[in-house]
Symmetry: C2
Subunit: 527 residues, 2 copies
């Protein structure tokens, strides 16, 4: 006991972030908000409205739809609410024990792991506030279209590089529509949003498929139960990573991976395996949507669900083609499945066609940057009625990474114009100069640091902050109504061209009358 | 046991928000982001950069600086990290038990309760990454200026109306400066930011004080220990709510409140009580800053800290006056203390001078909308060296509420232009019309709801969403290349002027050629 205490006394408070979390610096923030604002403008243009939901929700309301985990706790940050509250029955009334006392509990809260399940909660809660449960079964669920952005939380036990446990999503969804035109619109919005963010045409492609086709085809092949179907989809989803051959092995007897680990196969019979691989290997992303539709029809799938799926794809193509969204932007890819179990119809994925050279000199593809689909069952769990819905999500951090890796974003943003400190008596003068610059639209900072007397420290600060210009005013300059302006950016750019320091200084330093300072700087910064 | 099971089986999943949390609708979101963007622009103009920190932090790093609670758990959402990790010593090395095994633990995480303590963590962490601990004691702490916005979390047990457990702050801070010019700048930034958000001059006032003056004055009166000082400050902080007379009672023998509850007094002697009340009652917010400074000097406080405080106020006044920030914007108020224990020098508070009429017809003042101050000790706990800092925070939700209550914000934002659905075959046509409107900058929505066949439902949807115009295109109109445009907004406004429905319809409905639709709507919406 004494020993334990001794150990505890040595505990220290060390300033540190939680593993898997990160701070966002000004450059990444600039990029992140450029993405969010550009995409939000597009979502708004299509009539989606900005709703927000809390980051904390009751665990039972969020349910569990993460791809790889089975229990409510895994993958999610959950804890017991400090508040003790009545437990409810599904009709909203308070649960009572055999002595008729209300059952009280500290209920489980979760930090949201996506923006779709809180949307389902909000939609269901909104209807339950307005209608009685029995009325819901007799009405068509109303339409609700919203966009939302914000952080989501995943407690992933293994963290691969560049993955975080807190990351931002940027979603838009239609709840309460079975119209496939809404799905066609999702594809157009994804394309418009990515181009508004700055991705050039042909640097990405929106891939579309319909789950109904594959599941119908599997039924024709003799797959009768949902579990087998889900398992097959899970294996097909690895296609991009492991290729067709290994997919075939995992559908059948299993395989041994590079590390020598056994990967158990689904144990499907040979005919079924070849049926699946023929299907997913039988299409080319080089074909037009019409050609893909023709290939699908050639398969003569008898199953009605599959036929419905093909018809939906035809309608999507009709709308996209009428609006000139051709195969440069949207293609059909029958091998696309998306891992999430809750998708029920059309699924979408945006693939970046760009590549970058990694630190080892290897060319790497970026791959998937957004995804979505139709999820006709998600709200049903909370409401007891079917509510068809469709939407998609842009991974903000993933996209920011893409823009950085492919040099489509500045590595460091410009800092403010920097007013150096020389003389305590001039502080009001510095403030006035700064104020005039700000009024002229120029971000300006007066130095307040504790190393004021060391000009070197001030310049290092301005350099760290990527300040484009430094304004130097001593008492002589103040009296003469001038300032010396040093162009830090130019100074760095041309430093190698000069061996003579004086010549270099002449290029990067200039005396400017205070009255002309704002217009001088504005002109310089335009250039 | 059987009974318990029976009870558990009846638990239901009811779509509900956690108590104290709320969804943000499009109108409130519009207002909220208007506030955030306008203030952020001002912060940036002054050279602050946008940093972000995670919402989850180690509980020990955040420390505990909430005003009313004593323990780490109270007031904060905390839970154990699912990840087991080594416990650290304060030098960053792993703590080991007597058998030299690394001590592993699920450490406590907290959802941040403000943006200042994560800033202290980030600042300290940044220095510890760059320098060794012994170097820190020999250097001046570097300057770091950042702004940040985002939600913070407080588990307040009693929730008063309009208060939430998740709310947004909008902070800017200077860490690593002892220059009072930075404090003067804080006042200017608060004023500029509030006016950029839309608050008219004279509808608010920035109040400034310096903790040093009061604490020095208290020392002169004989208050020797920190605890008594903190207790006195806590009572003075209630001044706005309870008035001078009750403050005097709470400093002395205590009092009985309206409900009959006993409020324990501090038990200070009469001389001390009258000393304190003379001080805080002896100033008027109607006086100029110069007059307040003269009044302060007349008190002839001997204590050096107090004299230092008065000098700092003089410097703040010099800078503010040089930049024409007169008493219309910034006043000195020696009775202002701010509740937070970590403030050490200048403190600021913005008071809204506006009032509103509540639901019972009573005129109510809005009161405090932002606050801040100098906190020279906050980073010290993590770093072991003194790091002077100063900054302030705008309460986003509070300000949004003010704008709503005083009718300075629209109660509902406009929705998109609404294209009604008549005919499945026309879907590509609707899409094309929508696309042309969007290209012309008009937010436009095509209806995808499941009640398409009922025009009444469509109109109710458009009305709910506050759509300004509905575009109606049946097959005849499509063939003729026209659309019927219904002005929903005008329709509502003039509905009472017409008894004849036909006349009213003529006013609010118009046939417009499709080719002219975008320019027609743009012109109408400008008006």
């Amino acid at each position: 006991m004494a020993n334990k205490k001794q150990v505890e006394n040595k505990r220290g408070v060390v300033a540190r972030k939680v593993k898997g979390f990160r701070d966002i610096d000004p450059s990444l923030n600039q990029l992140k908000w450029k993405i969010i604002n550009a995409a939000s403008e597009v979502y708004k243009k299509y009539g989606f409205e900005h709703w927000d939901t809390p980051i904390l929700e009751y665990a039972d309301c969020l349910g569990k739809y993460l791809p790889d985990d089975d229990t409510v706790d895994k993958g999610v940050y959950s804890f017991k609410n400090p508040e003790i509250e009545p437990v409810l029955r599904s009709d909203g009334s308070e649960l009572r024990d055999e002595d008729a006392h209300v059952v009280m509990e500290n209920q489980h809260l979760s930090m949201r792991y996506d923006l779709t399940s809180p949307l389902a909660r909000r939609y269901a809660e909104g209807l339950l506030e307005k209608y009685q449960r029995h009325m819901l079964t007799q009405m068509k669920p109303p339409l609700f279209r919203r966009y939302q952005f914000g952080p989501v939380y995943r407690y992933e036990i293994k963290l691969s590089p560049g993955r975080f446990r807190e990351f931002w999503q940027l979603d838009f969804d239609n709840v309460g529509t079975n119209d496939v035109a809404a799905d066609a619109e999702v594809c157009m919005i994804l394309s418009d949003a990515l181009e508004a963010i700055g991705l050039p045409r042909k640097s990405y492609v929106v891939k579309v498929n319909n789950r109904k086709i594959l599941t119908g085809y599997l039924k024709d092949l003799g797959v009768a139960d949902d579990l087998t179907e889900q398992n097959i989809i899970r294996v097909i989803d690895k296609m991009d990573k492991i290729g067709l051959e290994k997919v075939a092995l995992e559908l059948g007897a299993g395989r041994t991976d590079e590390s020598g680990a056994e990967i158990k196969g689904l144990g499907l019979d040979e005919k079924l395996v070849s049926g699946v691989t023929n299907f997913i290997g039988g299409f080319s992303t080089q074909k037009t949507r019409q050609e893909v539709l023709a290939d699908l029809k050639k398969l003569e799938i008898q199953n009605e669900t599959a036929q419905e799926g093909i018809k939906e794809m035809e309608k999507i193509d009709t709308i996209l083609s009428a609006l000139d969204f051709d195969e440069e932007r949207v293609i059909f890819d029958p091998s696309l499945v998306r891992g999430l179990a809750y998708y029920t119809g059309p699924v979408y994925e945006v693939e970046s066609l760009q590549s970058y050279i990694d630190s080892k000199g290897v060319e790497r593809r970026i791959g998937s940057i957004c995804g979505g689909g139709r999820y006709d069952g998600l709200v049903e769990n909370l409401l007891g009625i079917k509510v068809p819905a469709t939407g998609a999500s842009i991974g903000v951090d993933r996209l920011a990474e893409l823009l950085m890796l492919t040099n489509q974003a500045p590595q460091q943003k410009d800092g403010p114009v920097f007013i150096a400190y020389f003389d305590e008596a001039l502080m009001p003068h510095y403030q006035k100069v700064a104020r005039d610059l700000r009024t002229a639209g120029i971000e300006t900072e007066v130095y307040y640091g504790m190393d004021k007397k060391k000009m070197k420290k001030q310049m290092a600060y301005a350099d760290d902050k990527n300040c484009p210009f430094v304004v130097l005013i001593g008492s002589n300059e103040a009296e003469a109504g001038i300032a010396t302006v040093k162009n830090l950016k130019l100074g760095k750019e041309i430093a190698d061209n000069y061996t003579d320091k004086k010549e270099w200084m002449e290029q990067v330093q200039k005396e400017v009358p205070i009255a002309e300072l704002a217009s001088y700087l504005n002109e310089q910064m335009k250039g």
